[in-house]
Symmetry: C2
Subunit: 137 residues, 2 copies
């Protein structure tokens, strides 16, 4: 029997005609200390609309919902259907007012639960070398 | 009352003198279709050793456990102490045999639960512009 781990939202993603921002819950205010020093953030969220047994059991998709793309395993895509419904997007922060972090834009729908934020640190990224991707990308 | 979401491991990370690799559980084999087309993967894992009320309540740390670094909110670091214990590292895959994906190296300890894999797609990354980070980085 596999263990289960628990995720609890730490805030909410807003994505409206008025812009894109993150609202971090008050109890996590202290976790934001020093975040202004980074231009770019990795924003982790939960694909809550797909949190059903069917959504989490789907292991293959046609990427970007395009039937012309080859059937592909979800671990080889960024599909919102996957066993653990973790979403990740890279954002540029434009300003912060208290627990509200304004973003240039975000690839997540309004109301999406925020589950983590990590700073973008270039050293964590690919140091060198050629990146290879399949044709469908 | 906040909702809670559930994460279940999809495999395990191995990091030994014999190398670094991922073992994906058999039930998720289908999710790997097409992953060979990518040179680099984003490997998501769970900081299971810190899954305690104390570990998850820690909101500020001295980055890299260096007391000379300024006290910083965990959302501004990659600390393994954070409210939701999601770890992320970028890896180059070197070969795959069935459900075993061999990696050049991985920044996670042997036995760490694997919770997701996403391909590295350059379009998802930062398109342009200068990345800014604090002095402690």
């Amino acid at each position: 029997m596999n263990p289960h781990y628990h995720i609890s939202p730490v805030g909410v993603i807003r994505n409206t005609d008025d812009g894109a921002w993150i609202e971090v819950y008050d109890e996590f205010t202290d976790a934001l200390l020093g975040i202004d020093g980074f231009s770019h953030l990795m924003v982790f969220f939960w694909f809550h609309h797909n949190d059903t047994p069917e959504g989490r059991a789907r292991l293959q998709v046609h990427p970007r919902k395009n039937p012309d793309n080859p059937l592909t395993g979800v671990f080889a895509t960024h599909s919102p259907l996957r066993p653990n419904l973790i979403g990740l997007t890279f954002c540029r922060q434009t300003s912060r007012t208290g627990n509200t972090i304004h973003l240039e834009k975000i690839d997540a729908i309004d109301g999406t639960p925020l589950i983590d934020i990590k700073p973008h640190i270039p050293l964590d990224r690919l140091e060198s070398g050629t990146v290879v991707v399949p044709d469908w990308v």
